[in-house]
């Protein structure tokens, strides 16, 4: 099992004729994902890597039964693409792009939720359910199937962290990049709820940062009596206040944004807090141990 994405998911790629769209479609196919359609207005009837291309998402859904979308279009057009995918029946839509205005992220998120679906992103590598399917451009070799649900605000960190888990024999049910922006299609609390409900997930690894409030949502969960064990790694301990560390949301504006404040909250809630990337595997192992109890 997994969250949101599995081997039955039928993926349509918006912007498939673009450079990144074509690359990602090929890469997802290679991972065994059912990439059933591409969309590129005006290019309906052609194909990319053997994948049929349609002029609209509705046409793609009608012809192929696509139920999952990934949107590779530039920020000024992104909302249009996501709305089209959501309202054409895709229950899961990933928008990996960065540089998206927060306003657009809000609208995307709200549109997906209004249809009972989910948007993943922006500014995220997407979502992978190892051994089943991937929706995004994370490096496939970092992952293997297993009992750990991974949630990450950072793409780069999730790759390396997942590889370390994999190399330690700790496979993943799903790994979701919730993204580095302030408003997320799936936020930490929601990702956790999804993993909580996934029977294949025994423990949760949360990779967080300074800035924003997601880590407090993780702490809220961790202190629940019925919570699955949570291991966390937060980065940005040494980031100076008031300076944006790459991600739009990685900014210390007040004490609540700091590494210290978040770690205190997580530890008080009973989460296993890895103090460094090197300590993450042990923390994850400890979380799994607790779940077995």
């Amino acid at each position: 099992m997994s969250i949101l994405l599995d081997a039955a998911s039928r993926v349509v790629v918006l912007g498939i004729t673009g450079r990144i769209g074509t690359f990602s479609a090929r890469d997802m196919l290679a991972y065994g994902t059912q990439v059933v359609a591409g969309v590129s207005p005006g290019r309906g009837g052609s194909n990319v890597e053997g994948i049929p291309v349609f002029g609209s998402v509705a046409a793609a859904v009608a012809a192929t039964g696509a139920d999952t979308a990934i949107v590779y279009v530039p920020a000024p057009l992104a909302l249009d693409g996501v709305l089209e995918a959501v309202e054409s029946g895709c229950r899961l839509v990933a928008y990996p792009g960065d540089g998206l205005p927060v306003r657009e992220a809000m609208e995307m998120r709200a549109a997906a939720r209004a249809q009972g679906g989910w948007m993943v992103g922006p500014n995220s590598p997407g979502l992978i359910s190892p051994g089943r399917a991937k929706l995004g451009f994370m490096p496939s070799f970092c992952y293997q199937p297993g009992p750990i649900g991974v949630i990450s605000r950072s793409g780069s960190l999730s790759y390396e962290a997942s590889l370390r888990l994999t190399q330690a024999g700790l496979g993943q049910s799903s790994v979701i990049g919730i993204g580095g922006d302030p408003v997320k299609g799936v936020n930490a609390a929601e990702a956790i709820a999804l993993f909580h409900d996934d029977p294949a997930t025994e423990a949760i690894v949360y990779l967080g940062e300074i800035g924003g409030s997601d880590e407090y949502a993780v702490a809220d969960y961790a202190q629940r009596a019925d919570a699955k064990p949570v291991a966390t790694l937060l980065v940005g301990r040494t980031a100076p206040p008031g300076r944006k560390m790459g991600h739009a949301a990685a900014l210390i504006g007040s004490y609540a944004d700091t590494w210290e404040s978040k770690v205190v909250a997580l530890e008080a809630a009973g989460a296993v807090v890895a103090r460094s990337l090197d300590a993450l595997v042990d923390a994850a192992r400890e979380a799994l141990r607790r779940s077995a109890r």
């Binding site: 809000m106 793409g155 999730s158 590889l163 408003v183 409030s213 790694l233 300076r243």
Partner: protein, 375 residues
Amino acid sequence: MLLNEARGKRLLAAAGIAVPVGIEITTPAAVAGARFAFPVAVKAQVASGGRGLAGGVRRCNSEAEVSEAAAAILSTRFSGLLPSTVLVEPWLAIARELYLSVVIDGRAGGFVVLYAPKGGVDIETGPKPLAYPVGLARNFRAHVFRALLESVEHDRKLLEQIVALARRLLRLAEAADCTTIEINPLAVLADGSLTAADAKIVRDDAAAWRHADIATALEQARAAETEDVRRCLDANLMLVWLEGEVGLLSGGAGMTMAAMDAIEAAGGHAACFLDCSGNPTPAGFGLALELLDSNPTVRSILVSMFGGGLQMDRVARTLIELLRNRSSTKPLVLRLDGTRGDVATTLLADAGFANHRALGPAVSEAVRLAQETTP
């Protein structure tokens, strides 16, 4: 893009929100000829908290005092930053100070309205403001916010003004792509009306393509950056100079922070946050290395890349070429891992460069080398 107070107030005024009518000046001489109704406030325009406690807001009763205060403020650093201008505006007779803001919160999936009945400089240390999670601006409901306010605010006329102002701020935030509009203090004047005595507004840089004013402000901000930072922005590298001695060149925001933290854990300090993932080419790496080599506070360099989409053998080839032509003798530690990391190691070894696959040992070595070369 944080707007200074004067710009923030202009944006509020354009949306029909009451602010003191002030003038912004860049030199003490500009005071001459301006007509003030004394007393006035002379306020440092600087992106830094704690301005008031540091002498950045002065009350003046004459043109001479204004000129003097402006001169003093313009030559004072606030948290290290010189004010670009001073704002001169009527000194408000404030009956009460409130706090009202509209900010982005991921848990709300959008905007949250925050209100505290006691605003002013102590807001961080006082009780937590009331929070109304709104999400999309159009989901604001006056009666919901009103019900929330009724628990703390018993002046009905004031309460209704706050409700109306909150709607106004949300609409402005949406229309102008603001991620923060904080009014602290929101001043209650003697006649019971509300005025924004200060304004902290953050515009969304990502929306510059639909707001010429954001685009212009970003261009100005870029022009005001140091040449290093400007060159990085032009090359799509993300550079923030820090105070340490280990020059860190990394890929991805999360991994760069993780490496910074690891350097600290190993007893060192990162000299920078430098994310090359936006431009992992000879030009990008070349610029990054040049900046680290030429900065004397950087005592050693750690290049740490983890390849996801990026193939490490390509990075290795790029780095070999750059390192062969490098004149600096500053110690440099390589750590390339991930996609085709094995090939990268072989290529580097063949070229005479050691590669760490693991982050920990690479960090330790970089920290050690920095300490050894520090006089």
